[in-house]
Amino acid sequence: MTEANRLTRRNFMASGASLLAAPAILGAGRALASTNKLTFVTWGGTYRDSVYEGGIRSFTEKTGIEVTIIDTPDLAKVKAQVMTGNVEWDVFDAPGAMGASGSKEGYWEAFDEGLFDLDDLAIAPTADLAPFYTWAGGIAYDPSKKGEGEYPRNFAEYFDLEKFPGRRTFRDRPSETLEAALLADGVAPADLYPLDVDRAFAALDRIKPSVASWVAATPQTITLLQTGEVDFSYSYSSRVRTTGEAGAGMAFSFDQTLNGLEYLAVVKGAPNRENAMKFVAHMLSPEVQAATMELLANAPVSKGAVPLLSEESRKWLPDMENANNALMNDAWWADNFETVSRRFKEWMLL
């Protein structure tokens, strides 16, 4: 009996010791990750296909690096990966607010010196954010179900439930959503920032019952329209265009859009950091910018890419001249995204 007791006690101590040592042992294996791989987290659906056709395919051909594409970037997941030291993503496709906030929180690696051709880029990269393109977010609808005058053309109308009854979508994040709410509530595009957060939530409270889905994965902004789950959707000109090419014709109102920058960023502690650097540089090169933006119809940051775009694609580019349109202020979101996000996410569930 005493022998048995000793046996168990010894086993216990041994297992206890191995448990304490486990993080060190298991952690050590990670440094040996192979280097012909790359994980790129991006926005899924037709957008993913376009980015693949425009740039990822040629990247793999050129470098032999295999790119694993993950859908739906999420800053909370980056934070979790950085917090637990278990970083799985290399390159993150970040809309302005997420990119700027991630930079402030220290989630991104600094880019290597001389990675970019600064003369070619219309917007200069920061230490850890590389501008990818400019996008336009706004109202999408199904022209086969809603004729002229039956769909909202601007955010004030998108929030007008009496004139345009029906179910709507919004993104599951405060950036873009709060801007849309304030524009709808009568704030002039030029006076948006600093955002009046309380006023934005008050406006959102009014249409909340008609929001059928707070969309995390961008393809849903279109699929929900296609299946008739919603009548109007907050989506993007590039998304509407690329799904239109794929044969499902939705329409997009250019009367009022939110225009913003998209960044590429390398996650801090990325397992394939070197490949990630190469990838970002590749995506900003003029040929790749031209090929990708031709498909997406977003405004390229490479000056060399602009003349290469077709007439047809130009029609879909974000309109920076229209006074109704608002430009996203990433600096404001850098300071506020984290706190406002938490409030927004709890509010969504309430």
Binding site: P23, L26, G44, G85, N86, E88, T227
Partner: protein, 271 residues
Amino acid sequence: MSDRSIRDPQSRRLQAMGSLLAWAVYIFLLAPIVVVVPMAFGSPNELSFPPSTYSLDLFRQFLSSPAWTGPLLQSAKVASISTVVVLLVGVPAAYGIARFRFPGRGLIMGAMMSPLVIPSIVTALGFYLYFSYLRINGTTLALVLGHVMHTLPYVLVMIVAGIQKLDRNLEFGAQLMGAGRFRMFRTVVLPQLVPSLIGAGLFAFLISFDEVVISWFLSGPTTATLPVKMYSAIRWEISPIIAAVSTLLTGISLVVCLIMVALKKSTPSAG
């Protein structure tokens, strides 16, 4: 009850109503399967029931898309490894629990059985936090460990039941002939347990293969299992491929179910 049915009209009416209600419930229970399976054989371009044309296109799309075959293989891998591990650990434990009385037996058994009643989300959260501390989140190892704990109670229940049906005198006999405890276990107990072992193994495999919540918390982008992929697909895409995947999952459940029924029939003592 048929032999004591009362022949007055009121009770016959009630019985008919009861059957009608029961059939309505059967239909409700079966509706998901009845809808999904034909859809899986429909065309990829329409999401309607019943499909206007039948084909295997959806299965072809499923099996030719790495986004789906990766998780399928991962599920097969996790389920196979977990099944082997849980049998290696669970079968001796079941024998110890079934055949010996020792202090702490109830407590140990309670701990091993607890995943049956603790909500998966709670175990999943525990694994997530603890494996984050161990830095193994997102690995196949984490998934296997989680699934082993999740399937252990089922294996214990089935094997303990199997052992209790065995004739204990054979074990005493072997030990009297001088066989050591482990030799006796290997040569006398295990061979008789084969049907229970197969049953428990299949059960563990199926549970692991179908498990969502724990895998949802523990898997990373490269280690996502089929149910995790399916969960995100239902949540975020509306792809008819899901119908093919559903049919595959239902098919696997059905096969495992039938094998278990057959096993039960082949061992009359277990009937």
